[in-house]
C-alpha cells in the first residue's frame, strides 16, 4: 500500500472579483509515495508545490481528482490523526507561548492528557527550543517559528509527515538539524513528503524526488537516475590564458581564473581536447569528471517553459 496516492488531483483557482478568470495552478497530477520513503517535491517558485500540499490537507477543494493517504481518502477525518503538516511560512496564535501552542495542538490531535505534557517537553527539546517554551510566539524569530512549526507537525507521532519548505528561514546549523531530524523520522518508519527548491537538501536526503513545473509533473525518480540520464561532463584545467580554437570547437565552456583556464565539456570529447592541448604545448593541470547535480538537471530541463523535458521514470 502506498503511503500517499495522488489520483489526478487538479486545481484551477478563480481570480478577480468582478471578472472572474481561471488560473490553473495544478494540472492533473498522478503520484505515489511509498511507506517509509523520504520523498522530495521539487519545483521552482509558483510550480504548484504548496497547492498540492494544500489539496492533500483539505485546505482547498480540488477541481478534480482525489488522493488517498495510508489507503484512506484524504478527506476522511480519520486520516488527519495520522498525518502532520508544516505549512510554508508557518504562522501561529501569537498570543500563546510555544508550550501552550503545542499543548493546544496536542489536545486537538487527540493526545491523551496524561501523555501530553511529556510529549510537549520532549518535542521542545527535539527541535532545539528547550528554553523558549514560555515565550509568547509573537516574540519568536522566523527560524524559531519554523522550529515550532516542525514540532507541531510531528508532535502527535504521525505516520506521514508533510513539510512545505522545511529548511526555509533556517541558519546553516538549523538546516543541518532539520536534515538530521528528517532522517530520524525515516528511521522511525515514517513517511516524509517535503517540498523544497533547495536542491542540495533534496539530493542529500531523498529516496526519490518528483519535479514539478508550471503545475505539471516533469519527472519522478531516484536522484541518481535523474542525473545520470544527463550526458557526463569533464572539467579540464590547464596553465596559461589561451584557449585553442580546436577546443572551443568542441563546445567547451571556458573560464579564466588567475593564470589557469577551466573548460567544461562532454566526456566523449575529452581525448580530442587533451590532444589539442598537447599540440599547443599547454600544461594540463587536472582532469575531473563532473557529477551532474539536480541543479544541472533544473538548468537543463526547466530553464525555458517551451522546452519540456522527456519524462523519465
Amino acid at each position: 500500500m502506498s503511503a500517499i496516492q495522488i489520483l489526478g488531483l487538479e486545481k484551477t483557482y478563480t481570480i478577480g472579483f468582478w471578472r472572474k478568470r481561471p488560473k490553473r495552478a495544478l494540472r492533473p497530477l498522478h503520484l505515489a509515495v511509498e511507506e517509509g520513503e523520504i520523498f522530495g517535491f521539487l519545483g521552482p517558485n509558483g510550480a504548484g508545490k504548496t497547492t498540492t500540499l494544500k489539496l492533500l490537507m483539505g485546505l482547498v477543494s480540488p477541481t478534480a481528482g482525489s488522493a488517498r493517504i495510508l489507503g484512506i481518502d484524504a478527506n476522511d477525518p480519520r486520516v488527519k490523526a495520522q498525518i502532520g503538516f508544516l505549512p510554508e511560512q508557518p504562522y501561529f496564535y501569537d498570543y500563546l507561548t510555544a508550550r501552550e501552542l503545542l499543548e493546544y495542538y496536542g489536545q486537538l490531535s487527540g493526545i491523551p492528557a496524561k501523555d501530553r505534557g511529556g510529549k510537549v517537553e520532549a518535542m521542545l527539546q527535539r527541535v532545539g527550543l528547550p528554553d523558549a517554551g514560555d515565550i509568547q510566539l509573537r516574540k519568536f524569530s522566523k527560524g524559531m517559528l519554523q522550529r515550532v512549526g516542525i514540532a507541531q507537525a510531528i508532535l502527535h507521532d504521525p505516520k506521514v509527515v508533510f513539510l512545505d519548505e522545511p529548511m526555509s528561514g533556517l541558519d546553516p546549523m538549523g538546516r543541518r538539524e532539520v536534515r538530521d531530524l528528517i532522517e530520524q523520522l525515516k528511521k522511525e518508519g515514517k513517511t516524509v513528503f517535503f517540498s523544497t527548491h533547495i536542491l542540495s537538501d533534496a539530493e542529500a536526503l531523498c529516496d526519490r524526488v518528483a519535479i514539478i513545473h508550471l503545475g505539471e509533473l516533469r519527472s519522478v525518480g531516484v536522484v541518481a537516475d535523474l542525473t545520470s540520464s544527463m550526458h557526463g561532463k569533464v572539467e579540464l584545467i590547464w596553465q596559461g590564458a589561451v584557449v585553442p580554437a580546436s577546443i572551443r570547437a568542441l563546445g567547451a565552456e571556458c573560464h579564466l581564473s588567475a593564470d589557469t583556464m577551466r573548460a567544461v565539456l562532454a566526456e566523449d570529447k575529452q581525448d580530442a581536447a587533451i590532444d589539442a592541448l598537447r599540440r599547443e604545448k599547454l600544461r594540463l593541470v587536472s582532469i575531473t569528471p563532473v557529477r551532474a547535480t539536480l541543479e544541472d538537471y533544473f538548468l537543463q530541463n526547466l530553464r525555458s517553459e517551451n522546452a519540456p523535458s522527456e519524462v523519465m521514470a
Binding site: 495542538y105 489536545q107 486537538l108
Partner: protein, 258 residues
C-alpha cells in the same frame, strides 16, 4: 468531537482575555461609580431608575461592541493569518471550529456580563441601601441581554465566514441597530401593500428581533416579565443563533483557505 469543540472554545476565551478584552470592565466600573455618585446627589426618586437603566444599557452596549468586534475576526482573521492551515490538518472539522469559536466568544461574554452584573447590583445597593424584591427582574433583563449576545455573536461569525472584517463590522452593526427597531419594522411592513408587503414582511422576519429582548426600562420600573415571554424569547434567540451558525457552517465548508 465535544472535546475538540471545548478546546477551541477555551482557546478563543484565552485569546480574548489576552487581547485585554476584559479591560472594558474598568471603563464600565468608572461609568457606574460616576453615575451612582452623581445621581445620588441630584435626585432621590429616580436614582434607582437611572442606575438600572444606565447600568443595564451599558452592559448591553459594551457586550454588543465586544461581540461584534471580536466576532467579525473569529474566522476571517484566522484565514488571513493562515493559522487555520495547522488547525485543519488535524482531526478538526470545519463545523467544529465554527461551533467552538461561537462558544468561546459566548463564554467570554457571559463572564464579562456576570462581572458587570455584580457591578450593577453593587451600585444599586449603594444608592438605595437595600435590594428589593422586584430587583430580581433585573436577572431576567440580564438573561435577555445574554440572549442578544448569542444572536449577535452568531451573526458576526456568519459575516466573518465570508466577508472582510471591516464589511462584517458594518453589516453586523447595522443589523444590531435595525434589529433594535425590529418591531417597528414589522409595523412598517404591515402598512405596505402587495408584493412590497411580502418582501418587506420577509425581510422584517429575517432581521434579528432585539426589541422583544430589551426589557430594561420595564424592569427598571419594577415590572414583572411574563414566563411565556421568557420562554418564547429564549426559544427565539436560540433558534436565531443556530440559524446564523448553520449559515456560517454551510459557507465555511465551501471556502478555500487562501
Amino acid at each position: 468531537m465535544k472535546a475538540r469543540i471545548s478546546y477551541i472554545a477555551a482557546n478563543t476565551f484565552r485569546e480574548a482575555v489576552r487581547d485585554r478584552v476584559l479591560y472594558n470592565l474598568i471603563a464600565f466600573a468608572l461609568l457606574l461609580v460616576g453615575a451612582a455618585i452623581l445621581v445620588g446627589q441630584i435626585s432621590i426618586d429616580i436614582e434607582r431608575l437611572v442606575v438600572i437603566n444606565l447600568g443595564l444599557t451599558a452592559v448591553s452596549l459594551f457586550g454588543m461592541l465586544i461581540a461584534i468586534f471580536i466576532g467579525i475576526g473569529l474566522v476571517s482573521k484566522e484565514i488571513e493569518k493562515r493559522t487555520l492551515y495547522t488547525m485543519f490538518s488535524r482531526p478538526v472539522r470545519r463545523w467544529e471550529f465554527i461551533v467552538g469559536k461561537f462558544f468561546g466568544l459566548a463564554g467570554t461574554l457571559v463572564v464579562n456580563t456576570f462581572l458587570m452584573a455584580i457591578g450593577v447590583f453593587a451600585a444599586l445597593l449603594y444608592v438605595s441601601h437595600h435590594l428589593q424584591k422586584p430587583d430580581a427582574w433585573l436577572l431576567v433583563a440580564l438573561y435577555f441581554i445574554i440572549l442578544q449576545f448569542l444572536m449577535i455573536t452568531a451573526i458576526a461569525l456568519l459575516f466573518s465566514s465570508f466577508s472582510s472584517p471591516l464589511l462584517s463590522a458594518v453589516f453586523a452593526f447595522s443589523l444590531f441597530v435595525v434589529g433594535s427597531f425590529a418591531e417597528d419594522l414589522r409595523g412598517f411592513a404591515a402598512m405596505t401593500k402587495g408584493v412590497t408587503r411580502w418582501l418587506a414582511t420577509g425581510a422584517a422576519y429575517l432581521i434579528p428581533n432585539f426589541s422583544a429582548l430589551n426589557v430594561i426600562s420595564s424592569v427598571a420600573h419594577g415590572e414583572a416579565v411574563s414566563g411565556q415571554l421568557v420562554f418564547y424569547n429564549s426559544a427565539y434567540a436560540l433558534f436565531y443563533a443556530a440559524l446564523a451558525l448553520c449559515g456560517a457552517v454551510l459557507i465555511f465548508e465551501r471556502r478555500d483557505l487562501k
